[in-house]
Amino acid sequence: MLLSEIKATLHAVAATGEDDAQLSQVDISTACGSDLLSDVLAFVKDQSLLLTGLVNAQVIRTAEMMDIMAICFVRGKEPTDEIIDLAREKGITVLTTEHPMYVTCGKLYAKDLGVRADAQDL
């Protein structure tokens, strides 16, 4: 799913400033919703989007370590300039959405994001 479609689906804003043309260059194959960074470090796969209600610099660091391409902060949480700058420096896109975690995951799952990867795990 293209990051531009993900943004539209979640009524999200790109806090790192990419326009839709730039976001349509990034293809995301699965997502992970978690507020536990060690879980993210243990389980996440390639080409992922991280959905989280946790807002601090370690979220960006964790994404960097895992080669996660994009992060979406849920429930209207606003990242600080420091967090946005770190994400930009690392080439990670930051989205923000007003939707809570459950709704965010549901909207993306309903559009088949990560559904095939999930089936392979079972």
């Binding site: 989280t52 601090n56 610099a57 370690q58 660091r61 960097e64 370590m65």
Partner: protein
Amino acid sequence: MRRTYDIDGKDFSVAGAASSDFKVLLKKLGIPGDVIRRVSIAMYEAEINTVIHGGGGKCEAEIADNRIVISFIDQGPGIPDIDAAMQEGFSTASEQIREMGFGAGMGLPNIKKYTDDFQIQTVVGKGTTVTLCINL
């Protein structure tokens, strides 16, 4: 090739800077992506532990011909029971650390999972040295 880093025990917002710098170096050297991923995760978990449990310290990272060896050395409280600390879910992290997304007790098990060799030397009241080894 060797790198050494000071690990600040007071500023949680810079935790992970050593792992980040080392990851950039590994990419520059053309180390395979799956190796970089394993090194990054294990190193980052160990670095976070040095900050949140060890009170800061230093890191020595070396890239040799056939392996990468990384040590984190702190003068913190030490680990009284290593077997307990290695269990998934065991954590003595404070509520404040949990609110930052850590303290799930998955760090040491993660490090073990992603490394080829992993040693903990610790003396209660004196400090801890964690050494990770990943074969190339």
